[in-house]
Symmetry: C2
Subunit: 375 residues, 2 copies
């Protein structure tokens, strides 16, 4: 293999490749990136066996070939080079690099040690707006359970219905659901549970990108593909294994009848909860008491070691006055994912699930369970 490539192009690719590389101690070959010539392109493949990222860039190909070299090391080295043309040549297992006055040899590995990336036999595909998908994943991904004892809720659930995609995550204490409306109906319904880490990688790649993402469905894995602008060739493909198991029937726990509706400024609510959290003690309890007469929320917290705290917040309150306690982290996480200036909090009962949603946007909801008050 011998090729010429611009430093900036190679650097951008390696920054994506290296993200999933390098934490596997028992399989050090996974610390590497497989670099291969393909027609007029150079492809970079990295994998942690759960997620595989393949990406392409246009380069000048002098000779064909492949080489396997340490991904993070190559990325650091290329980043340190001046912004010039780079010549890369593979001889035996090593990669020889020349750039300006620099001459370097990087020790590589046997090509055959690199895992074989299974070809993706696609049956069906679907095109989705990349920013809509990015937004949906970013609004739910943090909420997925960290508990590996229930793998089915450790991922992000995608449900492809007739006119929409529902993107859902829960950790059994709270749940977030984002609805992506589709302009054209889907031919066949699908659903899958994507590992949280894969969801984050896809988010990372879609951030700030325009255009469409093509989703390739398959029984045990899924592929997300982004195309190069004006070339029609794939630019990045993220393949991920799917999580086995059935996603809980989460629709049942979303409450539909409420005793109390509250409309409140999101930023003020968030700031006051943050302040109250300092006094919330070990159970993270922040208490909300409503006054329907005065139309305000009292937010309070108390800790024997630290002290006690109350603050008042004007709100529009309809229905019953109520007192309810939350883990402040769950409230903050929900509010941080809402983009509206006002939010609606709907309470069914002191010990039942509450619904939070941005005012004027029906596509996103959070369900949060209250906690039993210690106060």
């Amino acid at each position: 293999m011998k090729i010429e490539v611009l430093k900036e192009n190679l650097k951008s690719g390696l920054i994506i490749s290296e993200r999933i590389v390098g934490k596997n101690i028992s399989l050090p070959i996974l610390h590497n990136v497989l670099i291969t010539t393909e027609n007029n392109f150079l492809s970079l493949i990295s994998t942690d066996l759960e997620v595989t990222i393949k990406l392409w860039m246009l380069v000048k190909i002098i000779n064909k070939g492949s080489v396997v070299v340490p991904a993070k090391f190559l990325s650091s080295f290329i980043t340190s080079l001046p912004n010039e043309k780079i010549t890369m040549e593979q001889r035996d297992q090593s990669l020889y690099i020349e750039c300006g006055n620099v001459k370097t040899k990087i020790q590589g590995h046997n090509l055959e040690d690199f895992p074989i990336i299974p070809e993706f036999k696609n049956t069906e595909t679907l095109e989705v707006d990349s920013q809509a998908l990015y937004g949906a994943i970013s609004q739910v991904v943090d909420i997925a359970s960290q508990n590996q004892g229930r793998p089915e809720i450790s991922g992000v659930y995608f449900s492809f219905l007739k006119n929409s995609i529902k993107v859902v995550a829960t950790d059994s204490f709270r749940l977030a659901e984002k609805n992506i409306h589709l302009s054209e109906p889907i031919k066949k319904e699908h659903s899958f549970i994507l590992p949280q880490k894969s969801a984050r990688e896809i988010m990372n790649i879609l951030e700030g990108r325009g255009g469409a993402v093509i989703i390739y469905f398959s029984p045990n894995q899924v592929l997300f593909e982004v195309l190069m602008k004006e070339v029609g060739h794939p630019e990045v493909q993220v393949t991920s294994r799917l999580i086995d198991g059935e996603y809980p029937n989460y629709q049942d726990i979303i409450p539909s009848k409420f005793k109390t509706h509250i409309t409140v400024s999101k930023d003020q609510f968030l700031n006051q909860i943050k302040t109250a959290s300092l006094f919330s003690g070990k159970v993270n309890e922040v208490r909300i008491s409503l006054s329907t007469e005065k139309q305000d929320l009292e937010i309070s917290s108390k800790s024997q070691d630290v002290g006690e705290h109350t603050s008042l917040l004007k709100a529009k309150i309809e229905g019953e006055a109520i007192q309810i306690s939350f883990n402040y982290k769950f409230l903050m996480d929900a509010l941080l994912h809402m983009k509206s200036s006002e939010v609606i909090l709907e309470i069914s009962k002191e010990d039942g699930p509450c619904l939070l949603r941005p005012l004027g946007d029906d596509s996103y909801i959070c369900v949060v369970m209250p906690i039993k008050s210690l106060q």
Copy 2:
């Protein structure tokens, strides 16, 4: 005690106070700040017994008094409040705070548990430009030894001579010296070794500040004082204990005769060393070979596991062609502290100390010992 203060003023003070607070597990009282009314001022005192910071702010005093409360906690809490007037009242050991719709009680501690800060009996003082002092400390402080086995070189050495202050640090492998020229001669010569941590605290307080610093000398401690603009009252005082012992006679190791003089672009030299460092192996060796004919430096490095690397850099070379190896970290640290676009490297012999200095600035020098090459 009852006072009124603007949130921003209190916050700025607490950010300084809390920096030295909170790492002492055996003396938890040191996690606190002592807040006291003094005439029209509120003073905040925090200490780790090595460094003490006392600062003042103008407030409206309703009642006199003192309170001892957790510094980091108070700082987080005040930061979270809206930008408004804060009322603070001490009752028993607790601090009651009101700000807008917020009412809070913070648990405090017994005043008598807080260490007594010894009064500073000053004999002599000296005024120095605060930015000159800031610059000098920042150019040497990182180089002080981390080895507590030789406490005398674990600090920054200040030597007050007739017309200048020399600020020096060394870890026995390298040394940096900055000279602050004084327009008025000093009456009496002084010197002391300031702990590295105290030097960093003073740097932190002087950053971006104009005006003068007043240094108060005393046998076992030193005080640095900054005044409030247009008020003439102290704004911040940093008192530090001094390190016992005699600073090595470092002037002897600064070479004065050289075989080779090199003048080179600082940024290019720095970048090429950084790239070469990736291949420098366990001893951090980067080798420099000079060609007087071609007037260039060859920078090379080699590691069995990783590969090998060379790059060329144009330079002005006078004297003998030579090959010499350095720990790349020492070279980089020296270059990073120089502000000129070109630097001078002067070599006495392959295994003798080298001198680095910024072109056109005689007030700063670094001495770096080479290492024995493995190549």
